[in-house]
Symmetry: C2
Subunit: 124 residues, 2 copies
């Protein structure tokens, strides 16, 4: 499901925004760097969580999240620059192979944010 | 209110994520490029809107938005890389000096998204 250009973005420097909403419907965004995202073989996104306490609270109330990322260096249709929107379900795990994998990649993380994408759309 | 490093990020290439939520509390993210953000003298953020239809619908129901942006090239406390979270109120305008200003800067925009920040926090 994840397009090749999406994966190319993750190989460049850039910022991932992770949007969630509380039970009351209040939006919250948190961001991390492309280099901290691990794509599993079954195309889940693993992201180390140090803080992210409001995102974790929100995900406990409503697991639906949206993520955006992109790169000005990856070629778009006519010129360099692409961006993607991922819609998916998220959960935080404080143990298990996903946490071990993200700690091995990034060197930190008290929990791991696991996003299971339902769609991944090129938006720009 | 807007820190110097925030403005430095806008001068570098990068992506802005704009998060909103519907009356039902469903989060939605849309993104644009740093170069399309115009900071007014009174520190509002003007962003050209071509599509952004869901964001516009959401803002009509709940004007509270969160934005993230950052740059791996701007110096943080110990190493390069900073990110910011803006919390504010948003509205879409289809006429007026804000729309004219953003069209003059970017060359497009059927409407302009105007964000009035309530806070701007360095998050990484």
């Amino acid at each position: 499901m994840l397009p090749k250009k999406f994966l190319e973005c993750l190989d460049r420097e850039g910022i991932v925004a992770i949007g969630s909403s509380s039970a009351k419907g209040e939006v919250h965004l948190v961001n991390t760097w492309h280099r901290f995202v691990l794509v599993t073989e079954d195309e889940r996104l693993l992201i180390p969580a140090g803080g992210m306490t409001r995102t974790e609270e929100n995900v406990g109330e409503n697991p639906r999240v949206e993520l955006t990322l992109g790169s000005g260096e990856v070629m778009g249709e006519k010129a360099p620059g692409v961006g993607f929107l991922v819609v998916g379900k998220a959960e935080f795990l404080d143990h298990g192979e996903e946490l071990e994998a993200i700690r091995a990649k990034c060197g930190f993380g008290s929990r791991v944010l696991v996003v299971t994408p339902e769609s991944c759309t090129q938006t720009m």
